[in-house]
Symmetry: C2
Subunit: 221 residues, 2 copies
Amino acid sequence: MDVALLGGTGDIGAGLALRLAHDTDHAVVVGSRDPDRARERAEDYAATLADRGASGDLSGLGNADAATRADVVVLAVPPYHVRSTVESVADGLDDETVLVSPAVGIDRDDDGFHYDPPGAGSVTEFAADIAPADVPVVGAFHNLPAARLSNLDADLGLDVALLADDADAKATVRSLVADIEGLRPADAGGLANAAEIESLTPALLNLAANGHGHDLGPRFC
Amino acid sequence: MDVALLGGTGDIGAGLALRLAHDTDHAVVVGSRDPDRARERAEDYAATLADRGASGDLSGLGNADAATRADVVVLAVPPYHVRSTVESVADGLDDETVLVSPAVGIDRDDDGFHYDPPGAGSVTEFAADIAPADVPVVGAFHNLPAARLSNLDADLGLDVALLADDADAKATVRSLVADIEGLRPADAGGLANAAEIESLTPALLNLAANGHGHDLGPRFC
C-alpha cells in the first residue's frame, strides 16, 4: 500500500520512512509543506538505503498530494501542527484513508518531562475530532524513540500500542507495524484509551534522563 | 532490612510478600488492620514457600506495629485507603523509614480502563502530601501484575519504575527491587513524574483486555 508520512522530514517521520522503505514493499511518500524539501529528503533516505546495499520505494510530495495518493496517512508532525496539517490535507482524505496520529503533547520543566494533553484528552482524540467524520483515525507509534528508529543498525524489539474505534483501520495499521522488523503491534483499545499510552512517552524520556538508558521504547510483556 | 507490607493480605501485597520472602533475606512483615488476619496470611505465605521446599522470614502484625518495626513500609492498599492507612501508622514513621506507594487510581467504563488520579496529581504525590514531613516517599511497583507476582512459577522479566525526591530513599528501594529475581529497578525521576508511570497501569489493563496477553508488566528498553 501507499503510506504518506506528513512531516516526513522530521525525526519520527525520517525513522518511519527509513524503516518502512527498508523492511517492506510499501510505497513510502515523504510529505512536507515544501514539495522540493520532501523530494530532497526522500532522496536522502534512498541514499541511506543505497549505502547499505538496500533499496525501497521512496518519493517526496507536498503534504496534500502525498495524502491524496496514500492509503495510510501518518501525521508525523509536532502536536501543535496537527490541526493545520489535517486541515491542509482534508480534501484528499476519505473513508478509505486511514489517518495515523503518533504525536504526544509533552511539557518540560525543572522536574522533567510531563504529559500535556490537549483539551480533547489526548492528541490522538484531538486528531480524530479535527479529521473529516468519515476518516478513521488510529493512534500508533507514540512511544518510539526517533533516533533509534532512524538508525537502521539499531535493533528495535519494541511494542507499538494501537488505539482505534474502527476495527478495519486498526487492522491495517497493525499489519503495517508488523511489517517493520522488531516492532510488535499491541492493541491498547479505543481512542478513549490514548491518553494512557501517550503518557508513556514523557515517562520514557524521564527514565532516559535519569540514566535508565538511551532512546527507550516500551515492551508490554 | 525489615519490610512491612501494609495491606499485605491483598493481591499486590501477597505478591510482594511471596517474592521478597522467597528471593531475599529481608524480614517481611505482613500488615493488616486485623493482626490475626495478618498472622494467618503470613502463615499461608510461609506454607506456599514450604510447598516448594523454600522458606523465608515472614511474620504478621497489625499495620501500626508492622510500620513501627520496619525500615521500608509499603502502602499495598487501594488508593482510597491510602489516607487512612498512612494516618493510622504515622506515629511509627520517622526520617529513617522509607514509605513506598504502589497504588494507582483507575476508573473503568465501557471504553476500558482510565487513569483517575487524585487532586495531588498522582497517588504517589498524594501519599507524600499525607505522610509526616520528614518521612521520604518513594513511588514503586505501580505497574506489576499482582497475579503473576504471586505465582512463584511465573517469570517476571519486568522493570519497576522508581519515583522519589530523596536520593537515599530511592536507593534503598532500588536495592530492594534488584533483590527480587526478574525485576529491574528503573529511575523514572521525582515524585512530580509519578502520574506518567501510574498511567501505564490502566494502559496495561487495556492491552490485556484487547488480547495482547495476560498479567502484563512493562519493560523500558
